[in-house]
């Protein structure tokens, strides 16, 4: 009896294992150090000790990071969102059209200039949210694969962005609107978003259900989770965050162009996957995604710093994304054995 009792007790909480993010953080530090060393060898200067560069890195990371927080949640449910880059372009255009200053010669809506900055923001968020709801509804109700549903949105949203002004950019935005894109405000927005959804995933019912659906949708359904409704929520959040990223992008550039956000969806997916989110669903954390996004940003900045040709940069980026997924598959396999 004693041996059984010994094994039965589940009281002793083993000391918490190191969170998986530690590994990714080490990778980030490693990469940064490699650039530091290469910097001294090839460029004769420090890579890291350069406030200007670090600022650019975190600013660049912010927009992708905001999107990646939403995409991570989608991937945890076992889905994918290819539409976020196009939604960035679409919301940037639509939000900007309501943020124009009356001093600009030819605004999109001449009667609607100098509006309070909150209006373009609300409109932009609303457009992103709507795109996300449509994605989620298609996936939940028609049961088409997320890949296809969001691919459709990707093409259509980009189309809307171009059609909106027949291709011409929207400039002359109010200073209040542009303020969101100045200084380190994009970073603040990003970190706030990351914090909110880190808490949501870890400590709320929404989070528990998101993981449960990704781990085993059938079991989640039998356990009483309304999968359809929950998926719509998750995709809606992803859309909302893509919309937010669109607003920040336009504010940073102080103009909106229909081509904004091209391939951002891939960078966001890459950030999530590099950060340890599993494409098979059920696994992933916002902290990992944040580090994943920073890794991407550091690599881009590092290559530029070392004057690596932009073409090579893209080639290398592609390899890194594939490598991250290979590592994920390998991890899955190891887990199963």
């Amino acid at each position: 009896m004693t041996s059984e009792q010994a094994t039965v007790t589940a009281t002793s909480r083993r000391s918490r294992r190191l969170p998986p993010e530690v590994n990714i953080l080490l990778v980030l530090i490693g990469i940064a150090l490699v650039f530091e060393i290469l910097g001294w060898i090839f460029a004769g200067q420090s890579f890291l000790i350069n406030a200007q560069r670090l600022r650019i890195i975190i600013l660049q990371v912010s927009v992708i990071g905001i999107i990646a927080v939403g995409v991570t949640q989608v991937i945890i449910t076992g889905g994918v969102d290819l539409s976020s880059g196009s939604v960035v372009g679409m919301t940037a255009m639509i939000a900007a059209s309501f943020a124009q200053s009356s001093t600009w010669a030819r605004p999109v809506y001449p009667g609607l200039t100098d509006l309070p900055f909150i209006i373009p923001i609300v409109i932009g968020l609303g457009v992103g949210l709507l795109a996300g709801i449509i994605n989620g509804w298609l996936i939940a109700q028609t049961k088409i694969p997320p890949f296809i549903a969001t691919l459709g949105m990707m093409v259509s949203a980009r189309g809307i962005a171009k059609w909106y002004t027949k291709g011409s950019p929207i400039s002359g935005l109010t200073d209040e609107f542009n303020f969101i894109g100045t200084s380190i405000w994009p970073v603040v927005v990003f970190l706030l978003v990351a914090l909110i959804f880190h808490i949501a995933l870890r400590y709320t019912r929404y989070g528990k259900f998101t993981y449960a659906i990704g781990a085993n949708a059938q079991a989640a359904r039998v356990s009483g989770i309304n999968i359809e409704r929950h998926l719509i929520k998750v995709y809606a959040i992803a859309g909302l965050l893509a919309g937010l990223a669109g607003i920040v992008t336009a504010a940073r550039a102080q103009t909106a162009q229909s081509g904004m956000g091209v391939t951002y969806e891939l960078d966001a997916i890459a950030a999530a996957v590099i950060g340890g989110t599993s494409l098979t669903g059920g696994i992933g954390r916002i902290t990992g995604t944040v580090i994943g996004a920073i890794i991407l940003g550091v690599m881009i900045s590092g290559f530029t710093f070392l004057r690596v040709d932009a073409y090579y940069q893209e080639i290398i980026k592609g390899i890194i994304i594939v490598a991250a997924v290979v590592i994920d598959v390998y991890r899955q396999k190891k887990r199963k054995v």
Partner: protein
């Protein structure tokens, strides 16, 4: 000494195979899976030119034996002799090349290829340029079909064929390997009466050519129509072999179920209360029809029937997984609408599903996450935030009550044994304080100790007034635990047996009508 499959294949090709008494001969085979002893010292002898049926309840070990013969499983112990020569088959291909072909219950044909391509796959005749010689392949197939009296166009696509015709293609494919042994697993389950006649004609023809056929069926009348001999298995053990002319149907049923029911089930008689769940004329189109029954507080209603009788489907429909086409469900006398599991849970139902891996466990998540998921729907949250402290304490207590063997709740459920996984899932449902508990195969694939614990727990829940529905393929479990047994066959209820009247023979009779 054991011959390797390739040596054996070479011997076979040279024609130097001795005329052994048995085509296939299995001696003292043992096969164990984690927690389950599937076969224990089993023997099986197949004579040339006979149809030999394997009989036994679900879980008796028939399919394990069959898979050993077909090279899918490798036995832990024991010998397999092919025509008197010892052999160790390592893969289905090994078996095929040594003249043992198996026709699976779920057919393994490629739907978008032609009949001829399916039959000769991997062995296509080639022309001088190394391309597939379709003309020759067509002729070979036509010749084969003529021999078997199958009327099919070798050029038709498999996806256009009926299930029966696909079965014929599978048989032709097996014969094309010049197999000496043909294994058929429930070949008639999807066939009409006329198609069955045709199949039997082919089987008789093959038999007259000296081929040995291993035949698995649940249908008694087929046994007497087609089988020459049969071997009975029970609980992974060999019971005996008889000629089908020597025995009656009742003899066979007795051999299949004939164990003394030991009092290993802690059944208590508890006061039975009012009707809690009342199901009337429930039907799910093409799956089951006009199911009506009541379950009372404190009562355990067993549902027995063969696999495929619709037992699990009824449970799924009551729980809203697959909403009913017609019929009503009433709880405490009030008619309710259940179209999602969510509603069912809200009405006080809980459903432990049959397939732990597919519809039960969130395998990559930990015990806590698995256990809390159903109850979080309407308890232990505040403004959407999970009350971690409370829920962890409750799960901790549940895990101790159920004696889940784990160091802590942060252990991934996939690392637990089947029995412990099942306990976690039961815990998931108990947290919701169900009034109606539906258990589908609650002890499948788990060890004896955990089994007894689960039985004790179910008894205890009944004592507390929970209405329990228990589906099980294990006859002793159904008989030992139930107050009443409802027996199903092919989507219909064939009878109710009270605890006092319920015997294995009676249940089997109702289940295999």
């Amino acid at each position: 000494m054991t011959l390797s499959p390739s040596t054996m294949a070479a011997v076979r090709a040279s024609g130097a195979v001795p005329q052994a008494e048995y085509l296939l001969n299995v001696e003292n085979v043992r096969k164990e899976f984690p927690g389950v002893l599937a076969l224990d010292g089993v023997q099986f002898r197949l004579k040339r030119g006979t149809v030999h049926a394997l009989m036994g309840e679900n879980g008796a070990g028939k399919s394990t034996l069959m898979k050993i013969l077909a090279g899918i499983y490798i036995p832990d112990q024991g010998e397999v002799y092919l025509k008197g020569l010892p052999i160790r088959l390592k893969s289905p291909l090994d078996a095929l090349e040594n003249g043992i072909a198996m026709i699976h219950q779920e057919l393994n044909l490629m739907p978008f290829m032609t009949v001829a391509e399916n039959i000769w796959i991997r062995r296509e005749p080639k022309n001088a340029f190394g391309f597939v010689d379709h003309g020759k392949m067509y002729d070979m197939t036509a010749e084969l079909f003529q021999r078997l009296n199958i009327k099919l166009d070798p050029d038709s696509q498999v996806r256009d064929l009926s299930v029966a015709n696909r079965q014929m293609v599978e048989i032709a494919k097996a014969v094309s390997y010049e197999s000496d042994v043909l294994i058929m697993d429930e070949p008639t389950s999807a066939l009409t009466e006329r198609e069955v006649e045709h199949l039997f004609a082919i089987i008789r023809d093959l038999r007259s050519q000296g081929i040995g056929i291993v035949y698995i069926t649940h249908k008694m009348n087929e046994l007497f129509e087609i089988a020459d001999e049969f071997s009975v298995f029970r609980d992974g053990r060999y019971i005996g072999t008889h000629a089908s002319t020597d025995v009656t149907r009742d003899d066979i049923i007795k051999m299949m179920v004939g164990r003394e029911i030991t009092q290993m089930f802690p059944k208590e008689t508890v006061p039975i209360g009012d009707v809690v769940l009342s199901v009337k004329d429930l039907s799910l189109k093409n799956v089951f029809y006009d199911i009506s029954f009541d379950v009372r507080a404190g009562e355990i209603l067993g549902i027995a029937g063969l696999v495929g009788s619709g037992r699990s489907n009824v449970a799924e429909t009551i729980f809203g997984v697959t909403p009913a086409t017609t019929g009503t469900i009433a709880i405490n006398g009030k008619e309710v609408k259940v179209t999602t599991p969510n509603q069912a849970i809200g009405l006080g139902m809980a459903f432990l599903t049959e397939d732990r891996k597919d519809t039960g466990c969130l395998l990559i998540l930990d015990i806590l996450e698995n256990m809390q998921i159903a109850v979080l729907q309407d308890r232990f949250t505040k403004f959407g935030f999970v009350q971690e402290k409370q829920i962890t304490a409750v799960c901790q207590k549940m895990s101790e009550t159920l004696r889940v063997k784990t160091p802590n709740l942060e252990e991934k459920i996939e690392n637990l044994s089947g029995g412990n996984q099942q306990k976690v899932l039961i815990g998931r449902w108990l947290l919701t304080n169900p009034k109606i508990l539906i258990l589908d195969e609650p002890t499948r694939g788990i060890d004896v100790g955990a089994k007894a614990e689960i039985h004790r727990l179910v008894t205890q829940l009944a004592r507390q007034g929970v209405a329990v529905i228990m589906i099980s393929s294990e006859m002793p479990e159904v008989l030992g635990m139930s107050d009443r047994v409802m027996v199903m066959h092919e989507g219909r209820v064939t009878g109710f047996l009270d605890r006092a009247d319920a015997t294995q023979v009676k249940v089997m009779e109702l289940a295999s009508k």
